[in-house]
């Protein structure tokens, strides 16, 4: 039945009045909050709230939620009665929305005449958009702020649908009255965490002291007090918000982790810039609805917003020696939990120590990879190998801890205190996995690489071959001896090649051929090898 009753027009108002019987209960704040921060710039917020629910149908609204809340992710549990629907209204009260939502309403137009006299006149807002505001005044129809006189409007009240903060609410069916403790959880953007490692090399260059720091950031406008805070290391599968998912990153399916990290960094900058823009708005240059009819260039100019330096950040370091934050497995990830409750204030950065290991066995060497089958054109080439730090993440090496991805910075003893030698990224590393990180280009250490390829025709006894040779001269201008690792890359195209000759026996490393060469101080060393590959067109 399409129109069951021919209800008189009044009944709409009646319907509204009946709807008005629904009691609205507002929960102003959470009793306790837990914040779990993920790598991809969001967090799971779990709140406990105590509410007094009346017997009848009730609309329960939650104030004080983080403004970046992702509505689709919200879960309200332990309500004890039927939840009819969950609503999220994000039409925020701004100068712009105030004007737009006051269309059809009467306002007071305040006009300051030359000489300072203020004329007040009632007006009705006829239209308001980004292209300007049209008013009906006692004189006729006029545009706001187009006359050149200082003009502003005074509103009687804020339209109901506009809120200072976005609001999550639930419509509940009737149920027993009483006090309940409910749980509200949701994902919210604008939280970040990362890990950083500091490795200090000992004098013999065989061991490091390794420290790991967790850095947390709350980039939202909401301060969270007395929260239980944890971070998740690992890579949950995420979809972009445009595809109904939770992540602001364009695409989570980054094959290369470096690309993912760069994308995260870009997003972080974007969030920071957006905040900067927001704070400009709050600092006295409100972006009002503007736009006039065409006026000559000498006409009214809107105030240009100034660049306001942002110095709101505050870094709090909480980790003290001996007070490490611990980890526990969470499904297939690692969860690090701050052992004490803490405040996560808006725009605050916090650091805590999660790893402190003394005397981890490491290898420090210089590495260079090449393929003699693909010699470079401008040979002979002088190459600087990369300073590399390698270790096994095992108990036997003095480590054996999960290592969340992050930047490792190496410090080495110098004549007057520690020197910074370089930094590199390590990926999520499980216990018993190897780590190898390139930190910097070498100084005073050069490789003179000469490669050559030629063919050998088939004859009665031998098949045709591609032959590649490499002659590598290592020059060490340092006052200390160094170890150099040279890798001959073996890919699908040359994995059938055999070593026909080598000045030193190679080892196998991840499918490649590798040589470790010790070069004395202020001296040189030589590596040469020859590879034979059966020709690809041989049948």
């Amino acid at each position: 039945v399409r129109w069951p009753l021919l209800i008189p027009a009044l009944s709409l108002a009646l319907g509204v009045a009946r709807g008005g019987e629904r009691v609205e209960v507002i929960s102003p704040r959470a009793d306790s909050v837990s914040v779990t921060i993920y790598r991809d710039l969001f967090a799971l917020i779990t709140e406990t709230r105590t509410v007094d629910l009346p017997e009848g149908p009730t609309t329960l609204s939650f104030d004080g939620v983080v403004e970046t809340l992702l509505p689709a992710s919200a879960v309200v549990a332990d309500l004890g009665r039927e939840l009819e629907e969950r609503n999220y209204d994000y039409e925020q009260l701004t100068p712009r929305s105030l004007m737009a939502r006051s269309v059809g309403r009467e306002v007071l137009l305040m006009r300051t005449l030359p000489g300072g006299k203020v004329v007040r006149s009632p007006a009705t807002i006829v239209s308001a958009s980004d292209d300007g505001v049209v008013l009906r005044t006692g004189d006729g129809t006029e545009a706001l702020r187009c006359s050149g006189l200082p003009e502003h409007v005074v509103f009687e009240r804020v339209p109901d649908e506009l809120r200072h903060t976005p609001r999550l609410s639930v419509r509940l069916a009737a149920g027993p009255a009483g006090r309940r403790t409910i749980r509200l959880s949701y994902l919210a953007h604008g939280f970040a965490w990362k890990s950083d490692y500091v490795a200090r090399l000992d004098r013999r260059a065989t061991h490091v002291d390794l420290k790991g720091w967790v850095t947390l950031r709350n980039l939202t406008q909401t301060s969270i007090q007395d929260a239980q805070v944890q971070v998740v290391a690992g890579r949950p599968n995420l979809l972009n918000v445009e595809d109904g998912g939770s992540s602001l990153l364009e695409d989570n399916d980054y094959y290369d982790e470096r690309v993912l990290r760069a994308a995260r960094e870009d997003l972080l900058q974007l969030i920071l810039e957006e905040f900067e823009w927001d704070s400009e708005q709050y600092d006295g240059h409100p972006s009002l609805l503007g736009g006039c009819f065409p006026v000559s260039p000498a006409g009214p100019h809107r105030l240009a917003s100034e660049d306001i330096g942002l110095e709101l950040e505050e870094v709090v370091v909480t980790g003290l020696r001996g007070s490490l934050i611990g980890h526990e497995p969470l499904a297939d990830y690692q969860l690090y939990r701050l052992p004490w409750r803490t405040d996560l204030r808006a725009q605050q950065t916090k650091q805590a120590l999660f790893l402190a290991k003394r005397s981890v066995k490491v290898e420090r060497y210089y590495s260079s990879a090449m393929d003699a089958f693909h010699g470079s054109e401008d040979e002979p080439a002088l190459e600087a190998p990369l300073l590399t730090l390698a270790f096994d993440n095992r108990k036997s090496s003095g480590l054996g801890e999960p290592l969340p991805e992050g930047i490792l910075r190496l410090f080495e003893p110098g004549p007057a205190g520690d020197l910074f030698s370089g930094e590199g990224e390590i990926g999520d590393t499980a216990v018993n996995e190897p780590v190898e990180v390139a930190l910097a280009g070498a100084v005073d250490l050069k490789l003179d690489v000469r490669t050559d390829t030629h063919e050998r025709e088939a004859d009665s006894e031998r098949a045709a071959l591609d032959i590649a040779t490499a002659e590598i001269r290592i020059e060490n201008a340092k006052g200390v001896p160094v170890t150099v690792e040279i890798r001959q890359q073996m890919h699908e195209h040359n994995a059938n090649a055999a070593v026909a000759r080598a000045s030193q026996r190679p080892m196998r490393k991840h499918g490649d051929l590798a040589w470790r060469i010790r070069v004395p101080a202020n001296s040189g060393a030589m590596l040469s090898y020859e590879l034979h590959r059966p020709q690809t067109d041989a049948d």
């Binding site: 509505p71 879960v75 609503n87 269309v103 050149g148 949950p236 006409g299 969470l330 969860l335 067109d537």
Partner: protein, 461 residues
């Protein structure tokens, strides 16, 4: 709610206007393709004759070519949708050739002078004729108010549909207006709390409705339709559409039927009570709440091509479950995103990943990707190749599987992307052919241990 939005105005050709009340009834059928069928029922009271009826408060994203207007005893002559937004610039533009009033204020004395002006042009500034003078508005930069006597009818603050109708006699009956609108969309959002130790999951389903149409629909009767409505010139491209139809994580399509109301090839989810769908609102309504659904976890990894890797690659973690009756679910699942949670050591639910599902009929098997395993990885090494003939190459691969977890795991390792002719020559563990161009091995990896799988394959064309 702004009541002014909801009125239907009858403007007889004679120029008389009559206000009639707002929507008596409004129904929305929302498809999950960003499109909705909107039906307004409004009381119509009009005298006989040819006249124009205006519907203010229709969706700002109305597709005017889909409008249908039905009222007993009323013949439709033509319909127009005009939504030329009323702005200061438009107001002046429409005044070209017409007259406005200028009120100038003397900066020294504050005295106001008023004069009539004709608007000549609004291109790159407003040119006015005042008496016999031609002036450019506010070229002197002195305050000048411009007063317009009337607002042109087709400039509006809200989207308005007008129909030209003819009635043989006076009408006092409900009129029904239906049309398709963009800007309304819905999808399903699922919350799964997975309990690995008990091999089960709970699954809650929510319909998430988004209104970005620019219009608030008050006290509407709403129903949501799940299905793959074909839209010509839709916003999504062919590729996205195919993506949505193809479900990488659906392992077997189901063939069970359920109690859910059907409409042609679509499933219908009605919202029980009348609801107000505000502009810019996200509304969620529950449609599924089950627990104790059988679910297991598995590790999978796929390699395409033969390459060595310097770093271990994490295995994918997947949650496998079926929406058949037998596993405790027995509901078809409309397209949406499943967010998966587990309880941490303190019993608090923590988010562990999400995946998209397509429209999934009951009885299907799903393997949702949860994320990358921190503690389970595979490092492939190309040990060597041997060219057998021009078209055939032998590949010797070694895969090092590591497990840092305190329990043993099984990793399904798949070598994919082979050519037309392929066979396994040697394998350290019995595998299986998964399709014409891939093989898979289920590899046991002990707790805090390693397993090496070695395989020699012939690949050719």
């Amino acid at each position: 709610m702004n009541k002014a939005w909801w009125c239907l105005t009858v403007l007889p050709m004679a120029g008389l206007a009559a206000d009639v009340p707002a929507d008596r009834e409004i129904s929305l059928t929302i498809y999950n393709k960003g499109i909705a069928l909107v039906e307004h029922v409004r009381p119509l009271r009009m005298p006989p004759g040819r006249q124009r009826i205006e519907f203010a408060g229709v969706s700002a994203q109305i597709a005017p070519e889909t409008v249908s207007f039905i009222a007993p005893g009323v013949d439709l002559i033509e319909q127009n949708f005009d939504y030329d937004l009323l702005t200061p610039a438009k107001l002046m533009e429409k005044a070209v050739g017409g007259r406005v009033r200028l009120i100038r204020v003397n900066p020294a004395t504050g005295a106001e002078t008023s004069e009539e002006a004709e608007v000549l042009s609004t291109v790159q500034g407003t040119v006015l004729r005042i008496g016999s003078r031609i002036e450019v508005l506010r070229e002197d930069n002195l305050p000048t108010r411009v007063i317009f006597d009337k607002v042109p009818e087709n400039l509006r603050a809200q989207p308005t549909l007008s129909v030209l109708v003819n009635a043989a006699k006076a009408v006092d009956a409900p009129a029904r207006l239906t049309y398709l609108s963009r800007g309304l969309d819905w999808n399903a959002d699922y919350v799964a709390i997975f309990d690995e130790s008990r091999s089960e999951t709970s699954l809650q389903g929510w319909i998430t409705l988004k209104n970005e149409s620019g219009t608030t629909f008050a006290n509407a009767r709403a129903q949501l339709v799940a299905g793959d409505v074909n839209l010509v010139n839709g916003e999504e491209g062919y590729w996205e559409h195919q993506q949505q139809r193809r479900n990488a994580n659906q392992r077997r399509a189901g063939a069970e039927s359920t109690q859910r109301q059907q409409l042609g090839d679509y499933y219908v989810y009605p919202i029980k009570q009348l609801t107000t769908i505000a502009n810019n609102q996200t509304k969620q309504v529950s449609f599924l709440d089950t627990s104790g659904v059988e679910a297991t976890k598995g590790y999978e990894i796929v390699f395409v091509g033969f390459e060595s890797s310097d770093e271990p690659r994490s295995a994918d973690v997947r949650m496998r479950f079926s929406n058949s009756k037998a596993t405790g679910l027995g509901e078809q699942l409309p397209s949406g995103v499943v967010r998966v949670y587990v309880r941490d050591v303190r019993g608090q639910a923590q988010f562990i990943g999400e995946d998209h599902i397509g429209h999934t009929s009951a009885g299907s098997e799903l393997a949702l990707k949860i994320g990358d395993a921190f503690d389970v990885s595979v490092q492939p090494t190309l040990v060597g190749t041997r060219r057998i003939s021009k078209r055939n190459v032998e590949y010797a691969m070694s895969y090092l599987l590591r497990n840092a977890r305190p329990t043993p795991v099984v990793v399904t390792l798949r070598q994919d992307g082979l050519w037309r002719e392929n066979e396994v020559l040697k394998e350290s563990l019995k595998g299986r052919r998964t399709d014409s161009d891939s093989f898979a091995w289920d590899v046991n990896v002990p707790a805090q241990g390693e397993t090496t799988l070695t395989v020699t394959l012939r690949n050719g064309w």
